[in-house]
Symmetry: C2
Subunit: 400 residues, 2 copies
């Protein structure tokens, strides 16, 4: 944890990945992030993966370092309390609650006109959607997978949710910055549908399909438009090799000792693979076998030091279990991670902020709090309630 | 384009996706983003997809609304100029240049001690990596794809690059905010390797594998830990259906009219699919056929209005070409997009900021500039050079 955002208070009323990861990123850079949940847990409280004690490792992972208050959101008094919390502190609120419900911007702005509210949504029109349905809607599963099997492939990484979380943290700080000058509140709506559509626009894929009049054919594990693919070594290891820049390409060719074969192919085809990255993709059915043969001629133990020595852009394909055991740069020796005990009772390597700030002290990540662990503290410090008022809320079952 | 960040100047010396998308997000919220490139174009100038006129639609997409100066970075005078530009304006610099080269933090901080520099990297130790090699290194391709085919599947979305771009924009604003109070410069390093490792930690997957002692088996298109999969309608359309919350589940079951079959299965298995989302995954080989039969009994034209009416979380699987033609919410009727002419000569729907700021004017997105289109303006306004000095830089071929 770093302290760049020390002194900033953000309230999170959100579930699943996008909103909570926004709050997580803010907390990891030092903000005080207050999360409210339904007493007993919101819809993401039990989300898999689950740990050996039944705890949600997902929930523990996404809510690290936040303060927790548990509220009965089904009752009017609980909803009113959530509204007061959402509008307290610095007036920064991240949510995925419906745009028209009790946490609508109108209702909140009536309590605090300068509120900055960032609302993560599925479809921008309010229709329900999750990462996996948006992904199908924009075409990614039809682009993913091997060309010899035309079934759609859902990728398992919830990329739109994750991107939404990081973008939300950015947009929230941008709006906070503007508000410092203007005093103006804002409702920001970030829909996964807009994010996915805009991203395919930013990558040139919308223009490609519209100007070309058709979809890009599936290219399997071949990296589109340059050189990159999986290859198998003499001892059956699978490696991903990539060469996008001229330097990456010449380095790879020299390391594999295939200069002559590549030059012969260039002469035959009348292209320069070095200067024209697209030619490496266009002629991949001719070029890939040359690389494949060179990789297949040597075991991984011989290739790996060659690749490392020459600065080739490559990786072994690993499972996550293998990654955890084999590459200490990722987890074991990574200063981003620290081994901490969690509320669910287990201790495991836990990431803090993914960014490294040089010469700044990095405190170990804090675990996710037990639900309601900070209820009294939040009611007292954020809303200024008295002990008697807090006790009454407990007695009535409004908070826990 | 919105104006939240109006008045903020950020310099970008970066190629490919992560750094440029950071600059893009900043520009779309109103920052003045100055990008410098090698004269004739950097390593991403020709990156595919290419348009009908040979232009890089990728480059056009990722560099919209930025100002461009072209510099000969191979020469000492050009490198010195780049250093001056990187440290000018508000002292915010985004780059993927090597940590130890002419754009090292030490060299830049010597010119401007309070510089905030955000450096996107491959591996955190400086070893070369791109999205696709990091993805293989952390295990995603081994989790992706159908369980009946154990080849790794590279997903085609450059998710780590995209996440890095949004996170970088967030971290840069956080550091700028802290600097306003402390006056302190910072070097921030954001490595794709750290981002991927931390993300798998945040999602609970690192803990899952370490505490469980083994990898999660591939689950193909089945959403892990709840209900979600692709199903085929009577007329052969493929749809993604998801139910994570109890409400999503009961809505889906009611819409498909499979209450009795589901209740019989619950009685037989001794589970409640409504209250236990994990049971839907555990027993998916029994449960999925019930849903599959109900979906297969009706054509899409009959199912779609049922799903929409009941608020089911679903989508048709589309190709991007189909998405562009069939769902006007994504592109044609989406206020995030505007049809604008680009420097490459083509006009196509182009996204602005993916966030919607209610009641704020949204200006149409600006296209990417021709390389060097703002060279003189940048030299004059950012560095305060005279006409004579600017002319000399042109004469010497240092800028173009």
């Amino acid at each position: 944890m770093y302290d760049l955002l020390k002194g900033l208070t953000v309230v999170e009323g959100a579930s699943f990945i996008a909103g909570p990861s926004c709050g997580l990123y803010l907390a990891q850079l030092g903000a005080r992030v207050i999360r409210f949940d339904q007493i007993g847990g919101g819809p993401d409280a039990g989300r898999w993966p689950a740990g050996p004690k039944g705890q949600s490792l997902y929930w523990e992972g996404l809510n690290k370092g936040k303060q927790s208050i548990a509220i009965d959101l089904a009752r009017p008094e609980g909803r009113e309390l959530a509204q007061r919390i959402a509008t307290a502190g610095d007036g920064l609120f991240v949510t995925n609650f419906p745009a028209e419900g009790f946490l609508s911007y109108e209702r909140l702005a009536a309590l605090r006109p300068d509120l900055v509210c960032l609302r993560v949504m599925g479809w921008a029109d309010g229709a329900p959607a999750v990462d996996y349905t948006i992904n199908a809607a924009v075409g990614l599963p039809m682009m993913t997978g091997h060309p010899d099997d035309l079934r759609p492939v859902n990728h398992v990484l919830p990329a739109w949710d994750l991107l939404a979380g990081a973008y939300a943290a950015f947009a929230l700080l941008a709006a906070d910055r503007e508000r410092a000058a203007s005093g103006r509140g804002r409702e920001l709506r970030l829909a996964l549908s807009d994010l996915a559509a805009a991203t395919l626009g930013n990558l040139g894929q919308v223009a490609e399909v519209l100007l070309g009049g058709r979809d890009r054919p599936r290219s399997g594990n071949d990296l589109f438009g340059a050189f990159g693919r999986d290859f198998t070594t003499a001892d059956g290891a699978r490696v991903m090799l990539v060469a996008i820049t001229p330097r990456q390409w010449t380095g790879l060719v020299a390391t594999l000792g295939v200069e002559n074969a590549v030059a012969a192919l260039e002469a035959e085809l009348g292209v320069s693979f070095k200067s024209d990255e697209g030619a490496r993709f266009t002629h991949r059915e001719r070029l890939n076998p040359v690389i494949a043969a060179a990789v297949a001629a040597r075991p991984l133990g011989e290739l790996a030091p060659l690749f490392e020595g020459a600065g080739v852009t490559w990786s072994i394909y690993r499972t996550l279990h293998e990654a955890l055991g084999q590459d200490d740069r990722l987890f074991a020796d990574n200063p981003v991670f620290a081994n901490i005990m969690h509320a669910g009772g287990d201790t495991y390597p836990t990431p803090g902020a993914p960014v490294r700030i040089l010469h700044a002290p990095r405190d170990p990540p804090a675990p996710a709090a037990r639900l309601g662990a900070h209820s009294d503290e939040i009611l007292a410090t954020l809303l200024g309630l008295s002990d008697g008022q807090i006790a009454r809320l407990h007695d009535q079952g409004i908070v826990a």
